[in-house]
Symmetry: C2
Subunit: 449 residues, 2 copies
């Protein structure tokens, strides 16, 4: 096809205005664009997807509570009617800082100013086994894969004649006791308690076991001890097996091994143990060990006047956050907003404002009426009120009006019916085959597949 | 995994009751099961998916109007709390009539009575090119593939420097002027008119061309001339290019060739030109050329007392329908209902009732306020009232209460906002590569991919 090649310039109309190229339509990129004065800059937004992903609710897609359209907002729709705006679906391979170009899979693109808002990736800490055999939860396709896997497990379990095989299909191991891990564990607990017993009366759902493994000594390490304790208690009500101070050491696709030697047979390891920055190669400068661009207090990537990084991919170290700010949506949003403001004021010669993070609070939900919320570092509470707050804040934060309606409708439905409407195996998940250990030759047993 | 092998019996609890195995959870299979007396039979439902597909609205999933959960109902949910009911996700490979067994990918299954409700497949009339390069529209994954393809086409079109390539991406050819073809053409027309111009202000959407090709001399051949004419006029309002009396002869993945030599360059050929029965092999008996089981007036597959076929896969020929009944949901529903009634009455020795199709009407929709409806063979009308009727009937027919709410909500949204909320490329569609024609060696032109 006569598309421009990887080395040709991507077709964007000429403009007198300086061109700002934004890489990534996540929380940071979107807020930056919403606040940037569209009469002063030509903007090109690049994203590998044609939609924004509302990541905090991915776990609800994975557990059959929501369809993708609930949490995904088409990027072109978000910027309909905006002047001097161009979207291109592309993945960025390299930044050519000398020539002020980004290199993508669909061609190169000149920039006057470059905003790197490319977020984070799941961190498997270099372990191939985890990367290829576990389920991460950072993108919509991840969530749909996990949804298919969970439902397929139970469809297979009813076929099993061997108790051990059946048990393995009904075991779920989640690594990581942060908000994602806690929320997945809670949602699986709800499926176990309210939904699956009605769908699979043949199975004894009490046998379904959910394991949550956290390396630190308690859950929700980024929140207070109070919240960690409450989340622990809530999860215990769902009979979740919580192992703190333990580390998942290996997973061969069939058995999870912990550092203390404990083994859990399972088909499904959910990887919520960490993220790393999605730093793009090519910049001759400092990247932190967790792949974030070091930025100054104005989000400028060190040594460059016209390259900025915001959100998860930026590491802004200061007294309060010596290792950089936490990789959270509010940080990205506040940085995007401030950077836009600083750029808007440049022509008038306004001095740049340094970034200072306002931590409005954090929260995590475990299930219906069960959540923990911390506001402004002062108010800590759990239960129904925390759960309402959690829902309210998420409905406000989600990008498009349509998303708000769809999610609210689904939540009402799920709450009152104790149902999960989207338990559909649309694209069956096919796991990469685990390498079978070589059997000794005398062992002639034939395993029926 | 120690699952039962393909030759082992699928695990189903023993029962004193005779076992009815139902193949297929479509309109016919579902209605049959809803009406069958669950105290008299043990039922095993087999389906390759874990959900029922409401096929009449697949085209709305394909054109970004609805998400899959709108039109898919989890089968296990439909039969929650039902006694003596078992669902197994499986594809049936063969029927072993001698031993009264079905052979599936997950094992074999004995039956006392077998109900074949396995529906229909897209009919490519043996043409490999069409089968591998066009987009059918019979299953949810088909619809999602087409949705991705449409959106990807436009994302690519904005990158094109060559006018011809851009045009090819903006051309859509639909084969088949029945309800599906008309509905897809209309939905694409609506995207062209209301949605895409806002998303792609860089493109001249007037260039988007929709071609509808029908072999017969008019549209909607199964309906009246009046309806065909109205549908034609409606589609013309969307600038659809309608070619009747023409046949698509070839498609190499880049160019569609009609029987009169006309060529239309396109990336996207939607195949709505026909269906055939999904008859399972193994029965030593008559199958029609379009792969349907010949059945008598009681839906019994010829020569068998305990094998039945209903719906699309059954061909019941009589005076009124010498080539069998039309492959429509109402036929399947009525046959399923009657078969259940006949089986329910057997123990009491009730005589079997012969099937007689009540044609309540047919309809097709083209777009907002534009539809054609024929009721009871008498009343024919179009426009807003027909459109309201179409919506009302579809909302009633759709299986689950949740589906009704979700669809109604989406329709309200789409109607009042002129929007389509689900234009998401979740799983990018990767087309099998078209074989390039061998170039003459002296032609050294290098095409940039």
């Amino acid at each position: 096809m006569n598309m421009v090649g990887e080395n040709e310039e991507i077709k964007i109309p000429q403009s007198e205005l300086p061109r700002v190229v934004v890489v990534g339509g996540g929380f940071g990129g979107l807020r930056f664009l919403k606040k940037l004065d569209s009469s002063k800059f030509q903007v090109v937004l690049l994203d590998r997807y044609n939609y924004h992903t509302f990541q905090p609710l991915l776990y609800q897609v994975a557990t059959a509570g929501l369809e993708p359209d609930s949490i995904a907002g088409p990027l072109r729709k978000s910027f309909q009617n905006r002047k001097n705006f161009y979207f291109r679906m592309a993945t960025v391979n390299r930044i050519d800082e000398k020539n002020q170009k980004v290199e993508t899979n669909i061609g190169t693109l000149k920039y006057d100013r470059l905003v790197l808002a490319c977020g984070s990736l799941t961190n498997f800490f270099g372990n191939d086994e985890f990367e290829h055999k576990s389920f991460p939860l950072k993108q919509v396709p991840h969530a749909l894969n996990l949804r298919s896997q969970i439902l397929q497990n139970f469809e297979k379990a009813v076929l099993m004649t061997d108790e051990n095989e059946m048990q393995r299909l009904m075991n779920y191991v989640i690594v990581g006791g942060g908000p994602t891990g806690v929320e997945v564990a809670g949602a699986l607990g709800e499926l176990k308690q309210h939904v699956l017993p009605k769908d699979f009366p043949e199975l004894n759902l009490n046998k379904m076991q959910i394991y949550l493994v956290e390396g630190q000594e308690r859950l929700l390490g980024a929140m207070s001890e109070y919240s960690g304790k409450r989340a622990f208690d809530y999860l215990k009500k769902f009979d979740v097996n919580i192992y703190v101070g333990k580390i998942v050491k290996a997973f061969d696709g069939e058995i999870v091994t912990l550092n203390d030697g404990m083994q859990i047979p399972t088909e499904t390891l959910v990887w919520a143990a960490g993220v790393k920055g999605n730093a793009i190669s090519g910049l001759t400068l400092d990247i932190t060990p967790d792949k974030r661009f070091k930025v100054d207090e104005y989000n400028r990537v060190a040594d460059f006047e016209n390259i900025y990084a915001i959100g998860d991919v930026a590491s802004m170290a200061n007294k309060e956050y010596p290792k950089g700010h936490p990789m959270l949506a509010p940080v990205a949003i506040q940085q995007g907003e401030l950077l836009a403001k600083n750029l808007n004021g440049m022509k008038k010669g306004k001095p740049w404002e340094a970034f200072s993070y306002t931590d409005k609070g954090t929260m995590a939900t475990v299930g219906r009426n069960k959540a923990v919320t911390e506001l402004l570092g002062k108010f800590k509470f759990g239960g129904f009120l925390a759960w309402l707050t959690w829902m309210f804040v998420h409905l406000i934060l989600i990008v498009e009006f349509r998303n708000k309606i769809v999610i609210f409708g689904n939540w009402l439905w799920n709450y009152f019916t104790y149902d999960r409407g989207t338990r559909l195996i649309i694209r069956p998940f096919v796991k990469a085959k685990a390498k079978k250990k070589e059997k000794p030759k005398e062992d002639k047993e034939v395993l029926v597949a």
